[in-house]
Structures are given as C-alpha cells and as structure tokens.
C-alpha cells in the first residue's frame, strides 16, 4: 500500500503548498497549521491510556502487537551472528508456542542487510503474506549529520542489498533553524534513492527524532513536512535519544495522518520507536491508533512498533493468558 507515483508527489506538494517547497512557502504553510495545546494533548493521551483491554480483546491485542513489531538491533557491536539470532527470534518468537505470530520486520543497519536476508531465507517477504521484511536505517543514522551525497549513497546501498524498507532521519539542525526547504529536499531525494531497478520503491519511513524537536508544534509541522515530501511512514525516534516514543507524541502523529487522509485520501503509516517496553504500554498505543486514525491502521503497512525488549514482555503476557499463571524470564528466549 504505497503512496502515489513519485512523479506526482512534487506536483501534489506544490498544489497543497501553493508554491515551490522552499523555506518561505513551507514556513507559511506549516506555521499556519492549528497549534497544539500540550496539556490538552497529554490529557487525551492519558484518557486513552485508561481503556481497559481484557480477555478476548487483550488476546487479540497481544497477537497484533507482535505482528506489528519491527524487531530491532542497532548497535555498533552488531555482527552477522547477532543478526542471525535476531532473525531466528523474529521467525519464532516463542519457542514454547509455534502458533505465536511472526513479527512484521527486522530492523538493522544497512551493512547488516545481506546477513538478515540470508538468515530469513524463504521467509523473507511481505508481512501481509506471512513473510518478514527487512528494514534498514540509513542516511547517517542516528545523527543525520553528513552530506546529502553520503546519505543518498547510504540509502542506495541498503536498497541494492535488498532492504524492503528504509528508515531515514531528517536533518534536525536544518529543521530547528527553519531551513524547511532543506529538510523537504533531502526527504524527496532519499525517496528517489529508494527506487529499485524494476521501478518499485522501498517503503520510506521518516524519523523525526521527536526528542530533539521537543515541542508538539514542531512535531506536528515535521510530520506534515515529511508526508508532503513523500514519506510512507512517519516515525518518532531513532531510539538513541531520550525521550523516544511517547503516547502523546504518537497520538499527535496519528492525528496528522488522519487529517492527511481526510485531505487527500491517502494513508500514511506511523511508527513509534524506542521506550515501549511493556505490553501494557503497547496496548495503549493500539487503542490510540484505533480511536484516532481508525482500526484500518492496525496493520503492518500502516503501523509498526520499533522495539526490542517489548516482544518478550508480550510473550510473557501471552503465556499467562494461555496457562493461567504468571511466567518468567527463563521462559522467553533471547534475541
């Protein structure tokens, strides 16, 4: 479920913006969006967090969370062995229960993509078809501090290696200093770099790094900017900066994709990443997605959790539902 043809995206943007996507035009547009009252937003998130998801709803939710996870390893110390271990976990999350669903994707550094694909083997594919995708971070992740040429090369290499999805970072320095045109241009160019030889595109997730943008107004503007420039997903964080994903931030981003859908009929995805460690928290996110954007968003092409330790907490909960008693760390495997 990707965006419209790339050729029409710049036209669409120009149409919506009423001009070329330069600093001035973008500033006028983005700063003209209604403001966000932080206290009200956080209150709404807290209210959504009081939903009580039990019994059959909980069982469904736990499975759905697993199906929406991008199981992630992004460490300097990553090795092919580590990636193989991650992939094994992604394919078979619960060693004691083969009915446990698979995650949506594994997320690794670009140079680990070949090892991930090799380890996945026949299971490499679209999560809608029961496969597991490979997402690669790119564009000088996590800082984004490198020339555009290097970022494009980074992206192209990952795509060439077979990555299905690219998680890029925006230039936060440019954003915070008002150079919206630069941010737009980089996203658009990275999107072009996602083009494969056969004309298809890797799906592009745009990481806003909300912890550095700090204000909700900034996050709202960056979300709109990323979508205008061609992102298929907007993603909260690299996970390397605190705070990473929060419920209010994700709520805000879901409001943006909902409004984009109202305006254009297109559906863009949302990925909160980093800091979601418990099933309890993850369920709050599912509730938020369903009540803000709609249930249709609860599918791998429109919503992902960027997480690592979350999976095991979900498995423990799942085991408890199955067996009727609490489980423990020895009963879930390491990725």
């Amino acid at each position: 479920m990707s965006r419209t043809e790339l050729q029409t995206l710049p036209e669409r943007a120009v149409q919506l913006l009423g001009g070329q996507p330069d600093d001035t035009t973008l500033r006028r547009y983005l700063h003209g969006l209604p403001g966000v009252d932080a206290v009200g937003l956080e209150q709404r998130a807290a209210d959504l967090g009081t939903r009580s998801i039990k019994t059959t709803s909980k069982a469904w939710a736990l499975d759905k969370i697993i199906e929406l996870i991008d199981l992630t390893t992004l460490e300097g110390a990553d090795t092919p062995g580590k990636v193989r271990s991650l992939v094994a976990k992604a394919l078979n999350p619960d060693a004691s229960d083969p009915t446990c669903p698979r995650v949506a994707a594994v997320c690794v550094y670009g140079d680990m993509v070949p090892h991930a694909i090799e380890a996945l083997g026949a299971a490499h594919g679209d999560p809608d078809d029961g496969g597991v995708s490979v997402a690669a971070v790119a564009t000088a992740f996590p800082s984004g501090r490198a020339s555009l040429e290097i970022k494009l090369a980074d992206t192209a290499e990952a795509v060439a290696h077979g990555a299905d999805e690219i998680d890029m970072v925006i230039d936060r320095g440019a954003f915070l200093s008002g150079r919206y045109g630069v941010v737009f241009d980089q996203i658009a160019r990275v999107k072009q770099a996602c083009r494969r030889e056969d004309g298809t595109y890797a799906s592009l997730k745009v990481i806003l790094e909300t912890g550095e943008l700090t204000t909700y107004d900034n996050i709202k503007r960056a979300s709109w900017l990323a979508i205008l420039a061609g992102g298929d997903f907007i993603k909260t964080s690299t996970g390397k900066v605190q705070p990473a994903a929060t419920l209010p931030t994700t709520l805000l981003m879901l409001e943006v994709v909902r409004d984009w859908y109202r305006a254009t009929g297109e559906k863009v995805g949302v990925k909160p990443a980093g800091g979601i460690r418990t099933s309890k928290d993850a369920i709050k996110y599912l509730v938020t997605v369903a009540e803000i954007a709609g249930e249709e968003w609860l599918q791998p092409h429109l919503f992902r959790f960027g997480a690592s330790s979350l999976l095991n907490d979900v498995l423990l909960q799942r085991q408890k539902l199955r067996t009727g008693h609490y489980s423990g760390a020895d009963y879930v495997t390491i990725d």
Partner: protein
C-alpha cells in the same frame, strides 16, 4: 472481530458491603427515620440498591438539635489544630476506601466508573485534605484575626456529583468550626451514607455531621428551621430562588450554587484538536449533568463546518453503556424525571428549527439513557440556547468577531462558567476580562481543584466554594455586631 468493540471490562461490585436498609445519621449513629422510606435504584438498569430512610420534620429537628449541641459543647471549643486532624483523618479514610466509594457512586448515580474513580473520588479526598489544613489557619482567611464560625449549617446537595458536592459543603464548614446537617439528593443518597460510616471510623465527635436523607420536603424543612445559621444549596435556579425568598428577613447566611448555560467559545486560531476534546469534555462529561457544562458552543463562523465535522467524528468513539464497565464514556441519566426533561427540551429544539444529530449508540433495554446529541443552526433566541437542559445535548451557535462572541456569551441570566479557545494570550485574557462568569476556562474545561474558587454570577447563584474564598461562606469577623432585628 472489531478491536474497537472492546471486551467487557466490568469493575466488580464485590467490594461493596451495603446494608439492605439505611437509617438517618444523627448524633453519631444510624437511627430509623420517621418518614416514609424510599428506594434508591441504579439508573442503569432500574434495579433496587437499598431502602433509604426519609427524615420527617421531627427528624430534621433532632438533627439540628444534635448539631447545635455538638457545636456548643464540642466543636466550637475545639482548637483549629484538632478540627484539622479530624479532617485529615477523613481525607485519608476516603483515600483508603476510594475504590469502594467509586463503585457505589457509579452504581447509584449512573456515571461511568472511569469518572467516579478518576475524578469524583480523588477530588473528594483532595477537598478534605485541602480544608483540613485551613482549620488552624483561619487568621489568614481574609477576615482578620480570629474569625468565628457561623454555627449550624444546613446543606442541601444535588445528585450530579453526590459525594463531591458533600465534600464541597462539609469540608470548609467543619474547617471553619461549624457543625452540619446535610441532606443528600433523593436519588443519590448512597455515598453520603457510606461517608457516615467513614465518620464513625474517623471517630468524629457525635453531632458534628448529621445526614438526613429524604426528598424536597426534608430540604425545605431544613431551610426553614429557626436554629440553622447558614444555608448552603447547590441545585436548580428555581429552587435556589425559593430558598432565597424563604430566608428573607432572617439572620441566616445563604450561599447558592445554581444552574448555568455556559458558552464554550472557539476562536479560529484555537488549537482545533484540543478544542474539540474540550467541547466533548465540556458537555458530555458526566452526561452533561453539570451546572457548569459548556452547553453552548460558540464557534467562529469561519471554522464552524470543520469543527462540527471533527466533533461528530470524535463523538463516534464515545461508548455508552454500563456505568461499571471501565471503558464506558457515557453513563445513564440519573432519573426518569431528568430523562424526560432532556427529551422534552430536545423536542423543543427540533420544533424551533435547529438541526439535531445524535451519535450512534446501542441503548440498553432498561435504565435511563440519552445518546450524545448536537443541535446545529441554533440561534440565540432559541430555547435550547437559553434553557438549561442538564443532559448530553450541545447547542451550536456561531459568531464573527470577538466582541460578538462576548455579547452572545453574556446574553443569558446565568453566569457560572465559560470556555475560551485560542492560541493568542492577549485575546484570551481580554475576553476573560469581559465574560460575566465566575469560572473561566481557557484552553481547557471542567477542571476542578479544592484550591480554586468556584461559583457563579447573576442567576447562577452567589458565594464561592473552594480556595481561600470558600472559607468566607462559613466565617464571620469576630467583631460582628448583632444581625437584623436583634
């Protein structure tokens, strides 16, 4: 399976230890009433909860006598420090029994457990906690050194926030050194009676607080009782008027907290998403059965369609149903009588030419229910723009300029509350300056705090509850000379 059809998540009633029959709480103990007892039911399914005593004139008199005795012999002689300690005990007991009280409140009133658990009961504890600390600091209340209590306070409370309204009345009265006879609303006596049990656990001296359940007649007797020094009433404006007339010529001090038809003003530069949430909170919280409800939406004409559109989308996620289900957003209407009023006024809205839109909800077979409803195309001259409906019904009007918004907002005999939504500080403050309302919420709505004074202008009543100002209703300066006619 639709995820949004959340599985039932019922709060258990097992925590309740209810009696089949409750007496009146007079002079520290429960005793039978001599009036005709009545039933309290759950408005969600009309089931019987308990049998409640009704206080006859003789019972009311006994309660006042007990309160007077306690005032003369015990409470007025007690140090503020010690009065405060009793109130701190009560606050802590409410916190300990919070869950039980929340379940009882939802059962008896019909409001969602989410609200009684997260809003009502925590505020009750907070109210007692706040006023506990004032008991030994009355020199700073604003009446000069050594202010005096008024004596015996007769207090009559409504059914919309039963235990919270009780807290708003009893906490400051006791902190200031008064004793109390309180009459809960006829349809919601339960938590007041559980509160009486808490008073026993706190070892509050007998007669300091007396609770006389009953209907309107009990309240009228209390108002007219010659040995009551102070009347505090929360309820409808018509009854408030009667009370004001009844005490005319007497020395009785009166505070009234009455009805409202608050304007919730949305400017075009509002944070739209949060404003929509604020509209929903304003009129659908507690099923709209709130005196300060934002029942008139005044939206700037340029954003009217967008706001109404978003509002309808938002309303489609509200869940109506069993108040004890933790996912319920909209509970039952408190009584058949109230439901009738809401239906009648809505019918009038149709007749007046406004356009009705109602959220799609599955209405249970039993109980009293009204789905969230919006009337657009409402004009200032319509009755649904002027009469308090006290239900989940929003009337939507438009305005063009800030001045027009203010004019329309103030064009009402009421003056309890108002809301302002805008990102522009100078506008918010200037509009707040000009609104004739006792509580102005900017970029928020229906927020309550024991430290924040609450009360109305004009026909919404007089006197304030909460804050330092809330104490003034229960104190007099020490050098006060004798009242009229003495």
């Amino acid at each position: 399976m639709s995820f949004l059809e959340y599985a039932p998540a019922p709060e258990s009633r097992a925590i309740l230890r209810l009696r089949d029959e409750y007496g009146l709480f007079i002079d520290g103990e429960f005793r039978p009433g001599t009036g005709e007892s009545f039933a309290t039911i759950s408005p969600a399914d009309e089931s019987h909860i308990a049998t409640i005593a009704s206080a006859s004139d003789a019972d009311v008199d006994a309660a006042v006598v007990a309160a007077r005795r306690a005032f003369e012999r015990t409470w007025s002689k007690m140090s503020g420090r010690d009065r405060g300690k009793y109130l701190f005990r009560i606050a802590r007991l409410v916190q300990e029994r919070a869950r039980e009280l929340a379940v009882a409140e939802s059962l008896d009133n019909g409001k969602p457990i989410k609200e009684s658990r997260d809003v009502d009961i925590p505020l009750v504890a907070a109210w007692f906690f706040y006023y506990a600390g004032w008991a030994d600091k009355l020199d700073y209340a604003g009446l000069g050194a050594d202010p005096r209590p008024l004596g015996v306070a007769g207090q009559i409370i409504p059914w919309n926030f039963p235990l919270l309204m009780l807290a708003w009345k009893i906490a400051p009265a006791l902190a200031a050194g008064n004793t109390v006879v309180l009459k809960p609303a006829e349809t919601t006596p339960l938590t007041a009676l559980l509160f009486a049990e808490i008073l026993q656990q706190a070892d509050l001296p007998a007669g300091v607080v007396n609770i006389v359940t009953g209907a309107g007649a009990t309240g009228a007797t209390l108002v007219r009782h010659p040995d009551v020094d102070k009347i505090a009433f929360t309820g409808s404006t018509p009854v408030g008027r009667e009370i004001a007339k009844a005490v005319a010529g007497t020395d009785k001090k009166v505070t009234l907290e009455l009805g409202g038809k608050a304007a919730n003003i949305i400017f075009e530069d509002a944070p739209i998403e949060q404003a929509v949430d604020g509209i929903v909170t304003g009129i659908f919280f507690n099923q709209g059965q709130v005196c300060c409800a934002g029942s008139r939406l005044l939206v700037q004409e340029s954003i009217h369609d967008e706001v109404v559109d978003r509002l309808k989308t938002r309303l489609s996620t509200l869940r109506l149903g069993d108040p004890l289900d933790k996912n319920t957003d909209i509970g039952a209407i408190n009584s058949l009588e109230q439901l009738g009023r809401v239906r009648e006024l809505s019918r009038i809205g149709d007749e007046e030419g406004a356009d009705r839109w109602t959220a799609e909800c599955v209405i249970p077979d039993k109980g009293f229910w009204f789905a969230p409803t919006i009337f657009t195309n409402v004009q200032s001259s319509h009755r649904i723009a002027r009469d308090e409906i006290f239900g989940p019904v929003l009337s939507v009007l438009t305005f063009r300029t800030p001045a027009e918004a203010i004019e329309k907002a103030n064009n009402t005999p009421y003056g309890l509350s108002a809301g302002i939504w805008s990102e522009k500080g100078s506008r918010i403050l200037a509009v707040a300056d000009r609104l004739r309302a006792g509580v102005v919420w900017a970029n928020t709505f229906n927020r309550f705090d024991p430290a924040s004074p609450f009360g109305g202008y004009k026909e919404s009543g007089y006197g304030r509850e909460g804050g330092r100002q809330g104490l003034l209703a229960y104190l007099k300066a020490p050098s006060t000379t004798a009242g009229i006619g003495k």
